[in-house]
């Protein structure tokens, strides 16, 4: 198969975008639809009786800051990769992955704070939507963290040296996407009450 697929690649050299990147973009489209479904449910539900709101926990502001910085580090990681500065590249990858974990931890702190102020799963207000929407977003971040670790472990492998930029580009595009998605969701939660 290796060989036959290689033939495929040769005929595809004139194509502008690598198929794996293209798969990612369509995947992003479908993730957007999922969150569009949930946020429109939120908007519809807001008009109905029994809607409750909450005070935004401060942890969410910190997590937003962290994920913004992590977008910068993944960008620098890609840049270092292109410059073949592999040690710097690996450090930045690792930094991004840990910031992803820190983001998830802060989200969890935010959830816990909300829960302690009496906003549990009982009810049907903004808080319950927040748990589900932000929870699903955190799962998507976790997927990105796993991908980062996979790329990191591959980069540490000294036997196989790869200067193929596609995996790095795919991971970093996805990472920027989950970052932007959170910014959208955060602004949405702040504005639409």
């Amino acid at each position: 198969m290796t060989r036959s697929l290689e033939l495929n690649r040769v005929t595809d050299q004139n194509k502008k975008i690598h198929p794996h990147k293209f798969i990612l973009w369509i995947g992003i489209g479908s993730i957007i639809m999922m969150f569009a479904g949930l946020t429109s449910a939120y908007v519809v539900k807001r008009e109905q009786p029994g809607w409750t709101t909450y005070v935004t926990p401060v942890a969410f502001y910190y997590s937003t800051g962290i994920i913004l910085i992590s977008s910068l580090t993944i960008f620098l990681a890609g840049k270092s990769f292109r410059e073949r500065r592999m040690i710097r590249y690996r450090k930045l990858l690792l930094a991004t992955a840990f910031m992803g974990l820190a983001f998830m931890f802060l989200q969890w702190l935010g959830f816990r704070h909300l829960w302690e102020t009496g906003i549990t799963f009982h009810g049907s207000g903004a808080g319950q939507f927040l748990y589900i929407i932000a929870g699903l977003h955190a799962l998507h971040v976790f997927g990105g963290v796993i991908a980062l670790f996979v790329v990191y472990i591959r980069a540490r492998n000294t036997k196989i040296r790869s200067y193929n930029t596609v995996p790095v580009d795919v991971v970093s595009t996805y990472w920027h996407f989950v970052d932007l998605l959170w910014i959208y969701l955060f602004i949405f939660f702040l504005m639409v009450r």
């Binding site: 198969m1 036959s4 495929n8 794996h20 479908s30 969150f35 799963f121 196989i160």
Partner: protein, 607 residues
Amino acid sequence: MSTDSTIHGTGEVIVSHDTHDAGPEVHHHKETFITKYVFSQDHKMICKQFLITGMIWAILGGLMSVLFRLQLGYPDSTFPWLEDILGKWAKGGKIQPEAYYALITMHGTVLVFFVLTGGLSGTFANFLIPLQIGARDMASPFLNMLSYWFFWMASVVMLTSLFIETGPASGGWTVYPPLSALGDANLGSKGGMDYWITGMALFVVSSLLGGLNYITTILNMRTKGMSMTRLPLTIWAILFTAILGVLSFPVLLSGLILLLFDRHAGTSFYLSDIFISATQKALPNEGGSPILYQHLFWFLGHPEVYIIILPAMGLVSEVMAINSRKPIFGYMAMVGSLMAITILAFLVWAHHMFVTGLNPFLGSVFVLLTLLIAVPSAIKVFNWLTTLWRGNIRFTPAMLFAIGFVSMFISGGLTGVFLGNSTLDIHLHDTMFIVAHFHIVMGVSAFLGMFCGVYHWFPKMYGRYMNNTMAYIHFWVTFAGAYLIFWPMHYEGLAGLPRRYMDYSGWSSFNQFGGLNRFISTVSMVVFAVQLMFVFNFFYSIFKGRKVISKNPWQANTLEWTTPIRPGHGNWPGEIPEVHRWAYDYGKDGKEFILQTEPLGADEQHH
């Protein structure tokens, strides 16, 4: 993205293809039983896995319908053998109400999702995309393999739900809350519903992984010269199907996640202060809206019917042109109408909700958009008929099924015009009329399209032909039987006969249909038996069918017929052929057919 290593060969030794002479085998890597038949990354094997899994589901789903038709046709009789196979669900040889609801729910779920989405798209998208666009395999063979195995896991979960103590989901295939959220109100809403949600979540993952791959492969991996307007219509149809799936299935997942939280975490997205008579208690929930679920469900649910019918349309278009020995009539109109249907599919979901208390003004907008779908549908129908017109028709089994598809699609489409009217819908909603409508227009039609595809491409899949005699019997009994089953249901529906009831004999106004129901039930059993004959024909022909001896048995133009009779992984032994013309040069310049790989003649115009 772990296929990078295979596609780019990072660190692996790549044999240069330049030294390769066109031998019969393109792949020299070792294949074990596991990598060839189980965890295969070859799109052709994945296609067969989808097809055979889909067939198993179709038999199970069809058998369910035979069981509940038995109840509907003979509501007063008892069948002791039913107790032998169903146990407590058919106490005393009579299907219990819970079992009846479970049967119709699972019949719908299985046929809509596991057969006509997974089985149909999974089979033909996998098989035809690389072969017809001229690619070695999918953009990501690994994701493609995952797509099948998620489908397999979804199947296992759904199948398991049939055997748990409280039975499978039984609130209808749409699993509307509050019923689907309240285990106290309905036996099937206990564990069975969790299995249903889990199974569907896995199914959504499967169809997303598949869809991403289909779209990417079609847009990025076409061979040299294969411009979009040279693609066979099968590929266009599959492309739009995949786009619909990728954009609508995630919304269903959102809706199901909220349902899961309502069931187990105590949230009130769909549930409100409902009083349940079984427990004599009111729910603590407040402010939930079951209509919200319907919006989320039908935002998938409506595109879903096009996900089912578009691939069938593509298969039929291709088979019809080949066997009429004529170019498809109005190629661009066919593509345009597919696109129009895809766009409109997202704008009509509320026509399933006309009687939910929807604002009548909003309803009228959805009526307009719904009836607009008649335009692209009619364009397609007229193009098929004009393709047949004065064609040199070869009535192969595949061609008969293609023509049968058009007949069914017209019949079912016309009743759609009735149902698209919000005023008429007040009367027709939830009656047998709607059951008749959607079974004809998307159930039977899609099945005929699928059979058309199986008969036509079987020689490419297995290097043998299916038995024609059995195929003709299969066609005529299925075609006539489908009309005999569903045509009378329109009359029942117009008379107000509600769907999902297990016994109409208690109503004097519905008593008149006792004989008709027996008739429908009898025919449905005959038709089911003939499908088993198809299954026999299929498996028998894999091993004993007449062997294909020429590369291009149907004398068709598309690229899959330029591969060896039994292509290996990689499809073409040498270079991938270059394409010089569109797929429909039949009966041109005195030649019966001209392969897409044939260069343009001096006096020919670029298409």
